[in-house]
Amino acid sequence: MSLKNWNELTMGGVNLEPGSSLKNFTASYRSGQKPVFNPDNCINCFFCWVFCPESAIIVDREKITGINYDYCKGCGICENECPVKKNPKPILMVEEIVEL
């Protein structure tokens, strides 16, 4: 994100772009683990959606469809709150290998 010069700022430092933090990808917070979504056993209870602090659960037409890895910080709440007992669980935390 490029910063503005002092003479480009608005009066009083008012931010005129609501929701501009969407440009700020927080995926770098993830430390080794990322959730993987598998729709097979998903019961669409939406618990992962409501308890996700990053709003990183993608919803499409009343169904969970995936995870937004741009914002997911890998906290693992979605896996922990998923009530499905069947194997494989719809959301599983797996090890993430970052290639540099």
Partner: protein
């Protein structure tokens, strides 16, 4: 009662890209609370975790009118904002019948400690606003100092655990009862795990004319030294051990307990879940665990008895 699917269809007024720690409870609380009203919202936000993490220069995570205030005057600023809006209506710059809701958000430091005077004043004047306190039981943003919301026995940077001290020695301030004593129309305590209850309470708080106060337990994995994926589970444990009862108080007297655990769990389970309490599990600190249990039992019994009292009246 709204379902989560319907809730997901509503617009997000607090978007991703904020810099809160992984596993933080604040965005979860906001996700639920900001969806409860259809009216345009104005937010006055006291300095703290939410303010500093959601408005990282030059970006903002908010999609509504938002103002940053100092720790101690969030509610006072809201009084000024309300005066501005009523003046705009008088001047004809806004339609007179336009309904605008006002929300003040502060952490436990801004609510229990330094902001208490300002909130108390705004409540006494009977301003029409909702105060939302995300209570993570310490000053997390400035490095984890003790606040008056910190429970007894918790280790913080200013009440450390060691050979001399077993963490904080004083019990936490019962803030909900302090605000209930102002005889404001609505005071409620909730937690993010019981989202239906939180949604209902936030809806009710926005509907009431006059001040309303919401006290929501906010799990803080970084400062409570708990695993990030367990943060919502821990808030449920707080309700099951009666450390954080879920209740509401209407008009200062009518108490309703909204969640009663089927089996009241011992407080040690709550202490075991976070590393800030680990020192209490040593034998020499048994006395403080006993004291915490007594304190929790006393508060719970008082709550149940005041609920029964208002039923018989």
């Amino acid at each position: 009662m709204i379902s989560l699917k319907e809730m997901a269809k509503k617009e997000d007024l607090f978007v991703s890209g904020h810099e809160m720690c992984p596993g933080c409870g604040i965005p979860v609380i906001l996700k639920i609370v900001l969806r409860t009203t259809k009216c345009p919202l104005v937010v006055s936000n006291a300095s703290g975790c939410l303010q500093s993490a959601s408005t990282n220069f030059p970006a903002t995570s908010w999609k509504l009118n938002w103002i940053h205030t100092a720790v101690e005057n969030a509610a006072g600023t809201m009084s000024g904002i309300q005066a501005t809006y009523s003046s705009l209506k008088k001047q004809g710059k806004l339609p007179v019948d336009k309904k605008i809701k006002f929300l003040v958000i502060g952490g436990d430091g801004a609510t229990y400690d330094s902001g208490l005077r300002s909130i108390s004043g705004a409540m006494e004047r009977g301003e029409d606003f909702v105060y939302l306190c995300y209570d993570n039981q310490l000053y997390a943003c400035s490095g984890g100092q003790r606040s008056s919301a910190t429970p007894m026995g918790a280790a913080t940077t200013t009440s450390p655990s060691g050979n001399v001290l077993p963490g904080k020695l004083q019990p936490r301030k019962n803030i909900s009862n302090i605000f209930a004593a102002h005889e404001i129309p609505y005071v409620a305590q909730s937690a993010p795990w019981i989202w239906q209850d939180l949604y209902k309470k936030a809806e009710r708080a926005f509907e009431t004319t006059g001040p309303a106060y919401l006290n929501v337990l906010n799990p803080c994995p970084s400062m409570w030294k708990a695993p990030a994926n367990k943060s919502i589970e821990i808030t449920k444990l707080a309700a099951d051990t009666c450390v954080w009862p879920i209740f509401e108080i209407k008009d200062g007297t009518k108490v309703t307990v909204n969640y009663k655990p089927k089996k009241k769990l011992p407080v040690t389970l709550w202490l075991e879940s976070q590393a800030r309490f680990t020192h209490l599990l040593k034998v020499e600190n048994n006395w403080i665990v006993k004291k915490i249990q007594e304190e929790v039992d006393k508060d719970w019994e008082f709550l149940i008895s005041s609920e029964n009292k208002n039923r018989t009246n």
